[in-house]
């Protein structure tokens, strides 16, 4: 008696299997369609707006005539996000070192983990409202200012950086720590000179992903930096940024301003995708090694 494995699979079951495979593939395609459609239209509508003038002039605020480009928006995004990163990186990595190396299972470490989890779920607009009530309304060093926007973005980035850092610190093998301690290295130098460099790629990925998230945010900036037309390097001033520029131009009943929004969207997406893909490829290479 020969056993035929295939015979046990009836035609009906095979049909169901095929059907289910197609359904799952359809799910994947449906998930990818919006990405293609968004990119396609952003490129089609945005590419026409891009020229030297677009990148080298500030928006004039004019409704007709010379409306200007997006120079101040690009520089503003870079400045605000750079400051936010400078604030969030030491704090985020510090918290990760605390929960992973120092506090471990202590009550404070558990509390930090819980609060970081809570922060992850907070809508970005709520960060904006918080900074608005604490720093803008109360008039700490004036009203709306770029650095206040950076703090709102830093709060938003903090859970991303802290969690990614904690995971990459946990991936550092204990044998490395023990080897360093056995050589007589004090704990803090062991962490700074052995653990952190080993986890570097993971830390960098977390930071870059947080940067891409912050660079695209509009809501927290509405209440904190408000917006501006001209380029400024004063972090205490109101400032323009790419998301704010897009948000303002979308609502203008003038096709030329809307075209500027598409151009700004193409610029923003290009920046974000480059950073995002760099970050993912960095961890990927790391994992293979």
């Amino acid at each position: 008696m020969s056993v035929n494995v295939l015979r046990t699979t009836t035609a009906r079951r095979r049909r169901t299997d095929q059907l289910a495979r197609w359904a799952l593939l359809a799910g994947l395609i449906l998930a990818l369609v919006p990405l293609v459609l968004v990119l396609l239209f952003v490129i089609i509508r945005g590419a026409g707006a891009l020229d030297l003038h677009f990148f080298t002039t500030d928006p004039t605020g004019a409704f007709f005539g010379n409306q200007g480009g997006i120079k101040s928006a690009i520089l503003g995004t870079v400045e605000i996000v750079a400051l936010a990163t400078a604030i969030t990186v030491p704090v985020g990595i510090g918290l990760a070192i605390y929960t992973c190396e120092v506090g471990r299972q202590s009550k404070l470490a558990m509390a930090v983990r819980y609060f970081i989890d809570v922060l992850t779920g907070v809508p970005s607009i709520v960060f904006g409202l918080f900074i608005y009530t604490v720093l803008v309304v109360s008039g700490v060093f004036g009203g709306f200012a770029a650095w206040k926007g950076s703090i709102a973005l830093a709060l938003l980035m903090l859970p991303v950086v802290a969690r990614a850092s904690e995971i990459s610190l946990m991936l550092v093998p204990d044998s490395l720590r023990e080897a360093a301690l056995a050589l007589g290295v004090p704990r803090w130098r062991m962490i700074m000179q052995v653990v952190l460099p080993t986890a570097f790629t993971g830390l960098l990925t977390g930071i870059l992903l947080a940067v891409t998230r912050a660079a695209g945010e509009t809501a927290p900036l509405l209440f904190t930096v408000l917006g501006a037309q001209g380029t400024t390097f004063g972090l205490g001033d109101q400032m323009n940024s790419l998301p704010l520029q897009i948000f303002n131009d979308v609502r203008q009943p003038n096709p030329e301003l809307v075209t500027r929004a598409w151009g700004a969207a193409l610029t923003l997406i290009t920046i974000i995708f480059i950073i995002n893909i760099t970050a993912r490829l960095a961890t990927r290479r790391n994992r293979i090694q």
């Binding site: 494995v5 095979r14 169901t16 299997d17 495979r21 799952l24 593939l25 799910g27 994947l28 998930a31 990818l32 919006p34 990405l35 459609l37 968004v38 239209f41 952003v42 509508r45 704090v91 918290l95 070192i97 605390y98 120092v102 506090g103 404070l108 930090v112 609060f115 970081i116 809570v118 922060l119 779920g121 809508p123 607009i125 409202l129 918080f130 009530t133 903090l158 301690l181 050589l183 004090p186 704990r187 803090w188 962490i191 891409t212 998230r213 695209g216 945010e217 509009t218 809501a219 509405l222 998301p243 897009i246 948000f247 929004a261 598409w262 969207a265 923003l268 974000i272 995002n276 893909i277």
Partner: protein, 329 residues
């Protein structure tokens, strides 16, 4: 020679006084940092509660939540239309987004050729990197005009269903829900992928060895194992949908009333904050009401994320009885 070695070791020994001190300082500063962050987040919540005090005092918390009248000109702040709008759009997002996200995750982890898995995952994750305001721009100028005929057809053909029939407005709940679905798909899908990856290989291979087809293997080994994780992923997606602001603010229609059907315009908590913030002067009741809306939003997302965590914990604590592998004859 020996004395040199001992001197080196002594220099490096961790329990020398300066090293001990440095370690203590290091530890203490990290503890202070941790305490500060915990305090900051507590302060966050308290500050929002204080700032929304005037609005709650003026309207009453229950009226603020459940009164169907948001009339800024008359200082009447019953946020029910906004709460309802938030719930309606988020529900639409879940109904559309979760099945797509989960099937995409299953395809990538179980069916796609191994070489394509990582590129597909990275590509799908890019959906999450598209800024909210770009989705809004795309929604206003591409999605709304593109879907209008389809919506009109749906509205007419399925008019017998509740909340469907009626005149289709350009920006509406459905469009907002659809954009939210697109925004939560990468999140739900990424977490589902992680959960599905933890299904023990023995169970999958066991199912296949017993003669199960791929789909039966997924249904009998993968899904029972990852049900809690997928539920939790959906809840996290829901939390994201509830708080999403800018894209929704651009495509919801900004009408502070409850629409008659899903193709009618409305408003959400987050969108109202973004759109009306400019008109609300510092110290005004209106501003306080907007901050109160933010607080409600905050509490809603806390609840949803709390439920997500609870589902995972409960599943982890429960004894995982290996699901019986039943293959139809």
């Amino acid at each position: 020679m020996l004395s040199r070695v001992t001197s080196i070791i002594r220099k490096a020994r961790p329990d020398t006084a300066p090293a001990k001190q440095a370690d203590a300082v290091f530890r203490l500063s990290l503890q202070i940092l941790a305490l500060l962050i915990v305090a900051l987040i507590a302060y966050f919540f308290i500050q929002l509660a204080i700032a929304s005090g005037p609005a709650f005092a003026h309207t009453g918390i229950l009226d603020f939540l459940f009164k169907n009248d948001w009339d800024v000109a008359h200082n009447i702040f019953g946020a029910w239309p906004l709460v309802a709008g938030t719930l309606i759009t988020s529900a639409i997002a879940l109904v559309i987004g979760v099945p797509i996200a989960v099937t995409a995750a299953l395809y990538i982890t179980e069916l796609a050729p191994p070489r394509l898995r990582e590129p597909l995952a990275i590509t799908l994750d890019l959906l999450a990197a598209v800024p909210s305001v770009v989705y809004g721009l795309w929604g206003v100028f591409i999605l709304i005009p593109m879907l209008k005929p389809a919506e009109q057809w749906l509205s007419q053909t399925f008019a017998f269903l509740p909340f469907v029939g009626g005149p289709v407005s350009g920006p509406n709940y459905f469009i907002a829900g659809l954009i939210l679905a697109i925004m939560i798909i990468p999140i739900v899908s990424a977490i589902s992928r992680e959960v599905i990856a933890t299904v023990p290989i023995q169970e999958k291979e066991g199912a296949l060895a017993l003669g199960a087809t791929r789909w039966e293997m997924i249904r009998l080994a993968v899904l029972p194992h990852s049900r809690a994780g997928i539920t939790s992923a959906s809840m996290l997606g829901l939390g994201r949908a509830i708080g999403e602001t800018i894209a929704v603010a651009l495509v919801i229609g900004s009408a502070p009333t409850i629409g008659d059907h899903i193709f009618d315009q409305g408003y959400t908590l987050a969108a109202v904050i973004a759109n009306e913030f400019g008109e609300a002067g510092p110290g005004s009741l209106h501003l306080s009401a907007l901050i109160a809306a933010g607080l409600v939003l905050f509490v809603l997302t806390l609840l949803v994320n709390g439920i997500a965590r609870w589902v995972v914990l409960r599943a982890a604590n429960r004894n995982h009885a290996t699901p019986a592998l039943q293959v139809e004859p």
